[in-house]
């Protein structure tokens, strides 16, 4: 908790900077608005105050976003399509389902790659190369193709979330399952352990730190996949759909509110995994 104070101060500085930036960016718009209203007797304080409370600002002030979040989350029924809880729940479902299948597939593939030698040599370069490809470009197409098979709603977005979380998990887990050093592997051999025993008693436990690290990356990637997929098929709702709707109608406050909700979801997922990681790794006596 040594870093709590510095973090707090940096956050406060960022908020202050945000207010200044919001005032500066919105002031020209507000000046035009005053001019249109025929007012020219406003003081600088009026101008700044009005700039920070515009309906469609270029950059909404933090308190406007908080007010919008409060209106859409606390003041609106969770089941209402206008509230953010409804949309966040859709995104969360897509993310979790996608992440579950993506991570399972990723771990399965890592185990397969590790146990079948020829597969590793032929497939691993492609899996690594696929990391350098902007995979997300496939998202709109996957949604449309699944649509042809009458797969709509949450499923296509979960597929994309799974797809995005699967690669980092595979790469991380292959690295993790290979992390025991030759000495330890030799020891297993002197015990005449079978490959399966080596896997269960040495490789799987040794891969735990890598497992949690790749889970974090995978969960974050799954959420990005779900949000981007929602942008490409926005009629089903979700945070990505809110982003798109906000950008169509110039509702900046709405965009920021959706963005903050997505950020909170992501931070919560990664935070939960981090917590689990710390608990488990401490029990397993990993030092760092």
């Amino acid at each position: 908790m040594k870093s709590a104070l510095p973090v707090a101060i940096v956050v406060i500085a960022l908020l202050a900077f945000w207010y200044v930036a919001a005032a500066l960016m919105n002031a020209p718009l507000q000046r035009d608005a005053f001019a249109n209203a025929g007012r020219d007797d406003y003081s600088t304080t009026d101008l700044v105050g009005a700039s920070l409370n515009m309906e469609r600002p270029k950059l909404p002030a933090p308190h406007q976003i908080v007010a919008e979040l409060d209106r859409l989350i606390l003041q609106t029924a969770p089941t209402s399509k206008r509230g953010l809880v409804y949309h966040a729940w859709i995104t969360l479902q897509e993310t979790l389902i996608g992440f579950f299948f993506g991570a399972s597939l990723g771990i399965g593939l890592a185990v397969l790659v590790l146990s079948v030698r020829s597969l590793e040599r032929s497939m691993m370069p492609w899996i690594v190369a696929s990391q350098t490809v902007p995979i997300i470009a496939l998202a709109p197409m996957i949604v449309v193709i699944l649509n042809q098979f009458d797969i709509t709603g949450i499923a296509p977005k979960a597929v994309i979330a799974a797809y995005l979380s699967f690669f980092p998990v595979t790469v991380g887990m292959v690295k993790g399952l290979r992390s025991p050093d030759p000495l330890q592997l030799d020891l297993m051999r002197t015990y005449s352990a079978t490959p399966a025993q080596t896997f269960v008693k040495l490789r799987a436990p040794a891969s735990a730190p890598f497992f949690f690290a790749s889970m974090k990356i995978g969960a974050a990637a799954a959420l990005v996949g779900a949000v981007v997929a929602e942008v490409t098929k926005s009629e089903d709702g979700g945070l990505g759909a809110r982003l798109l709707a906000g950008s169509y109608y110039g509702q900046t406050v709405q965009i920021w509110a959706a963005l903050f909700t997505a950020a909170a979801l992501s931070a919560a997922l990664v935070g939960l995994i981090g917590l689990a990681s710390r608990l488990v790794l401490r029990r397993m006596a990993f030092t760092s």
Binding site: P6, K58, W126, A220, L223, L243
Partner: protein, 257 residues
Amino acid sequence: MNARTADLAPPLLFGAAVLALWEAGVRLLGVPAIILPAPSAIFLRLATSVPTLAADFVQTIQGVLAGYALGSAAGLAVAILIDRSPFLQRGLLPLGNLVSALPIVGIAPIMVMWFGFDWQSKAAVVVVMTFFPMLVNATAGLSSAGAMERDLMKTYAADYFQTLGKLRLPAALPFVFNALKINTTLAMIGAIVAEFFGTPTVGMGFRISTEVGHLSIDMVWATIFVAAVAGSSFYAIVSLIERRATFWHASYRGRES
């Protein structure tokens, strides 16, 4: 060279096998082209629409490169600036790590509003996406020089900037390049996704989203192919520069001792 070809053979064979299976599967099962076109159809489409694809590529890569350069440079600069203040480091690093896990591509609609439909707004998204990985990695890199080496610099009476230029920046290079490599992919993703939110009618992300709407899936695959080749070449170029830079670093030290 022989060993290299032996290394390359299995993945190439695997890739060829996948392509052959794909082609055969599409033809034998009669999969409609709007679901999955055959590789041959995709390459035909690629060959016949080179001008469109080239224009898209140029449009997108502008945003990618401008944003990548600005974001990475800013990340490195801030890392060097906060390096002298442990207080700022303790404050900024947890935030940087947090932001790295957030869905930053979501700021795309805001950037499109601020900077217009052209490549500048895409570059802005890329700047934000590439900034934090560089900040976190470069900060770790700057503290990677060992205590012994720092003491040596002190006994040479080297001032802060000499230590920075001759010891700590070179020692940070592997970390910086790690961030540069991560950022290549992030930059491509940022630029393409930002184009889903509005472009002048050109660009790879625009092409993908409109051609999906027209159900000309072969064109989508052709664009994805271009994006994949561009992404991996970008990564490969950075890795090549990394090898050069690290090589220079090692040889430099070799001459000194």
